[in-house]
Structure formats: C-alpha cells, structure tokens
Symmetry: C2
Amino acid sequence: MAVGELVLPEFETIDGVRIGTASAGIKKPGRKDLVIFELAEGSSVAGVFTLNAFCAAPVQVSREHLQKSAPRFFLINTGNANAGTGVSGLENARQSCQAVADLAGVTASAVLPFSTGVIGEPLPMDRLLSALPAALEALSEKGWADAAAGIMTTDTKPKGATASCMINGQPVKISGIAKGAGMIRPNMATMLGFVATDAAIAQPLLKQLLSEAADASFNRITIDGDTSTNDCCMLVATGRSAEINAADHQAVEAFRTCLKQVMTQLAHTIVRDGEGATKFVTVKVEQAGCREEALEAAFTVAHSPLVKTALYASDANWGRILAAVGRAPGLENLDVSGVTVYLGDVLLVEKGGRAASYTEAAGSAVMKQAEITFRILLGRGEISETVWTCDFSHDYVTINADYRT
Amino acid sequence: MAVGELVLPEFETIDGVRIGTASAGIKKPGRKDLVIFELAEGSSVAGVFTLNAFCAAPVQVSREHLQKSAPRFFLINTGNANAGTGVSGLENARQSCQAVADLAGVTASAVLPFSTGVIGEPLPMDRLLSALPAALEALSEKGWADAAAGIMTTDTKPKGATASCMINGQPVKISGIAKGAGMIRPNMATMLGFVATDAAIAQPLLKQLLSEAADASFNRITIDGDTSTNDCCMLVATGRSAEINAADHQAVEAFRTCLKQVMTQLAHTIVRDGEGATKFVTVKVEQAGCREEALEAAFTVAHSPLVKTALYASDANWGRILAAVGRAPGLENLDVSGVTVYLGDVLLVEKGGRAASYTEAAGSAVMKQAEITFRILLGRGEISETVWTCDFSHDYVTINADYRT
C-alpha cells in the first residue's frame, strides 16, 4: 500500500533513448525482469553510485566502463543484486556486458550493468543471457512504463516522473524512472534511477547537475537507514534538443530546476512506496547553525524506530521527537529551551516542552493524515534542510522477515 | 516474551541500604510504581547520566544534588518520565525531593529523583506525594526484589544481579537492579540502574569504577538505537565492609571484576527483555584498527532494521550484515576482500563473499537458536569490541504503536 496516488505519468519520449523489457525469470518465472536502455551515439552520460564499501559487482563494472567509453547501453536486471558475490560476480557482470555488446555490435565497455534484488546469490547467467535478444527486439522510444515495472523489487508500484521546459527557444524534455522500497538511505544516489534528457550537455556539467539534483532528492530520503550496496542513478543527455553550456547560466538554471523537479518526484515516490509505509513524512529542520547539524537532526528523527512506530500509530508522541533531536550527533551544546516543534500547523513544543496551547485533539487530527510535516526549529541559526521518510509498520517487519522465502 | 530464563537472583542484602516500594497509581492504579532507597550516612555515591540534550528534569536535579550533598535517598517513580516538561517539571522534581527530605529529616539535596515512563506528561504530584509515607514505611534491607518490579515500564520481567567477592579477607557484596526495554541505546548509562556494595570506596575511585563498568556493560547494548532522556546508573558504596583504596591494585581489580559481572548481567537482562525480542544477539567485531571503528561497525550491524528483521525470521541473510558493515561510519578504505564473518561457529563470509564451505542448512541451524553470535573479522588490526542486541519483531511495532494508549 503506497501513500497517495502513485500513477505513472505519460512519459515524454526522449529522442535518442529506446528501452526494451523482457522476461528472464531471474527470481520468479514469467515476470518482466530485464531492461535494456539503448542510448544514441554521441550521448553524454553521468552517474552517481553508492558509497557502501560492499558495493555490488555491477556498480564496480559500471564505474569502470563509464571511465573507458561513452555508454551506449544500460543492462538492468531485478531479482538478484549480484552483490557480495566476489570474483565470480564481477565475471558475470562483465560477461553479460560482453553478450549485449556482441548482439549490438559495440564494445563491452559501452555497456553498463545494473542489478537489484537479493544479495549474495550468484546471477543465473543462462536465464539472463537467453533473454537478451527479446529485450533488444523490444527496444522502443515508448518503453519507459514497461521499464519502470521491469526494475521493481519489493516496490508495489512502478515509479516515474517526466517534465519539460523551454531552453533558448527549444523544448527540452526529461524523463526518469526509479525503483526502491527497502534498504533505502541513499548515499550519493538511490537504489536505481535512470533519467534521460534530449538536451545537449557535456559530461562535466552533466555530472555536476546530476550530483546537485541527487543531493537535493535521493540523498534526502530514508526508509530504514540501510544504505544499499547497489545504489546508482544515471543521467543521460542525448543531445537531440537544445545545447546547454556551462557559461549560459540561464539555460543551466532552467534545466537544473526541471531536473530537480523530476528527481525529487522520483525520490518522493520511493518514500511513498516504502516497505509497509502508511505515512509520507516531511521532516524539516530550521534555524540550524549549519547544513550538517540540520541534516543530522532531520535524519536522526527520520530514522528513530520510536518516532516511526508512533507515526504508524498516528500518535503525536512528541517526546520521542525531542528525544531523537536530543541524541542527534553534531548538536553540541544544544539549548533545549530554544527548541520549537510544529506538527503540520499545530505548535507542539515551545521552549523545549509541550506548548501551552497544544491539545491532543489538535495533534491527533494532524497525525491521522497520510501526509505529515514536522518542523523542528533549533534556534541556533538560519539554515534549513528537509528530508523525507515514512513510518514503520507491521508490514515492514513482515516484508523483511519474509524477503528470501 | 524475554529471551532465556530471566529469574531474579536471591539478592545479597547490602548493609547500609534499605529499600521501600509503594503504589502511587502514577499511570495505572494498583501497581507498585514508587521506590525509595535509603542509604546509610557516610555512603559514597557515583552516577552516570544520559548524554541526550533533552535530559529529563530528574536527571538535571540528580546531577545538581549529587554535586551539593552526600545522597541519603533515591526517589524513583515509573509511569511518567518527567521529561520534556520544562520549568514545571523541574519544580515537580525538586518538590518531591523536598517532601522526602521533610519526612526523613534530611536536606532536600540529599534526595536524588529518578523517573521513567511516558515523556511529556506532567508528573501527577498529588498521587506521588501521598504514597511517600508508605514507601518509607516499607524500607527494608530485603526490598531489592520488590524494587526491581517497582521500576519496570514495558519490561516484561524484573531485572537484578548480585555477586560477592573476598577483598583483603573480608566478604564484599554487590547487588543491583535495572529496568529498560525500549528507547535503549545507552550513552553513559542505561535507562535506570541502581547498584550498591557494602565496600568502602571513596567517591573519585567509585566514579571511575562505575564509568568503566558502565562502558563495558550498559554502553554496549542497543535495542532500537534510541538514547533515552532519562538514562541513569547509580553506584552506592555504604562502607560497611572492606575498604578499597585506589593504591591497593589487587583489591581494586577484584572489585572491578565483580562489579563488571553484575552490571554486564543487568545489561544483558535488558536486551533479553527488549521490546518484542525473540533473539539475544552478540555482535563481536574483531581485527579492527581501533576501538572506535570496531564499535561503529558493531553498532551499525546491531541497529540495522534489515539485519534485525532477518534475525526475527531466523534468516541467515548475510548480505544484510555485509551491507551494514559497508555503510558503517569510520571504516574508511575498508578492503572488503579482507572481511570474514562467522555465524556461531559457521563460516559465513570469507574474502568479502559467501564462504565456499557455507550451506544454508548450517546457517539456518544457527539462526533458529534463541542466542546467536556474529563474529565480524575486519582484517585491519588487533582490536575487538562486543555489543549486544536483540531482533526486531512484530511485537516491537505493536508495543510502540500502542504505548500511550
């Protein structure tokens, strides 16, 4: 059960990007679990990858290939993360790139592999390889919605976002898909995100724009605080529409805004479809002394199992919010009497204690909503940061206790 | 349902300590929820307190009184934490000390207050004050077991430990009680722990011994990563038995060992009775480069909701253990190929991937046990650290979603 309406948009097609989806039967027979992106020659590609030291084999190979060649294909499978698989995992990732390369007539390093699913199982290579021709056969500019479904794991809904803007008199389109519902505390990227534009953007600027947008979107969400071994987000610019030069500040700004919009929407869909989620929660820390302490305070609240179970119960247990703020790292010498907390529009805490005007009825009314905002004012400065999270329900436990069975 | 047999020991009585328990009806009518410790004149007392910035009113008052006078009474209530209660919370804590002082003929600063329970509700002073005479009336050297029950909140079992040793030819006894089942990630102390000995130990040495023992016991456990606002652990030395001087290294060492045994046992009972716990888990990180990285790795594994739900499901999902180690802060440049993991005696991970000898049957056999040890060898040095935790079950969610209702 996702929070809110998660309906795929009518994707803008991106001239220069074709996508094919097929069934390889990697974890379960029958479902579409293999996706290939074909990128037109001349496309620029940027990527951000997990900072987890145990990064998966495909993450290592994608990083390596991205340095060597201009990517022409993304090969994505769900059902198996090819993580914690050692040397044979690396060989399997390389071999699957080689197989796509052979079929498509490119070099192996022009293929970037991505995997998501169970950690520690060997990738079933026979099944994966035998589905490649069907995926290539299916390549189409209209493949976005099928691909959004094809990369799902414990996601209950496919996730996509699309937008367009005018740059220097030319329409520029951006479309993207993402997946992820658990092991979500992205660090430089989310589980898997693939975003493409028809703008022409050289790699250094593209990389910078992607990093900024990932930092404002995927790096601001958490479901369970567990950073994945397979996090990746890729941004492709096919160059079929307007050219965006670093020196053209207006064009860069227009594109940046549009990209952040798409990526923030994707990040929000991940939280809305968080494992077992019944609430979509915005945690905004204001009046912080610096960016780091604002984020530490926001993430400590967003990760607290006690705050998350209270959210699940629609219980305005503000003591748990204060307790989480009080233990946040980096908040040295916090003057608790300067802390104010709002629950939606309701003043919950003032001077470090329950607000005189607060009533349980007012708090409960907000907590019963599916979308809730906490505003935590630290009284230490001018900096604000926002993160998004969900609650912690019985279904989270059920989903993760049953995951491998 | 606690993990293992949690039976109170036959407490050694501590000459110079009397304890009385009474019913104040603070949260629910009828249950014994008020405990008073009376300490003989001349006792030394040391305390360690929560590092949560939002520390509760009684923590602030106890710290203050401890600096002013030699404590003669501890006043403990359950059902209400008197935390996040601002100025009136401080007034209530002081007023309850004054009331005990008036009844017992001591100064108010000789009374230390402790509270545990719901955060943010005003302490019901009328009910608390009217139960004081009954608690004082009940003072007895044999009051330990009643007190262990009297300080419980969501604990399902009362918690105590007791031991004795010979020091310079004299028997020295140590007894202690503790409470806590949720909001457990002690930082300098646990929820509430009260330990007393009949040895004679001056305050500076007593403080040092308490800090060391708390660091090796309460500061090594976590249930949900949420540091409480009310953590306190007190150690009393009544001076009725052997004198222990800092210069007498043999005596200090004998006492230190005995104290650590009592406090580690108390800490373990808290984990065994963790909210919803079905497993008692020892996470031992070995071959770390320093103490900090060993602890960061151990606590990151112990806090991971994905590891904890896998434990609940008895699923040897070692990928989640590796993913947690890989995201632990402070493990810069971890060479994952040097990481080895044992599940009980079963080699699970070698060279950063699944061990060749590993079978799911062997892993499952260990995971089905109620007491499980993870050994994580980092291959970076010689340092080992151990933390203790429990799993994350449906009942954790149920208990914390219903807590205030």
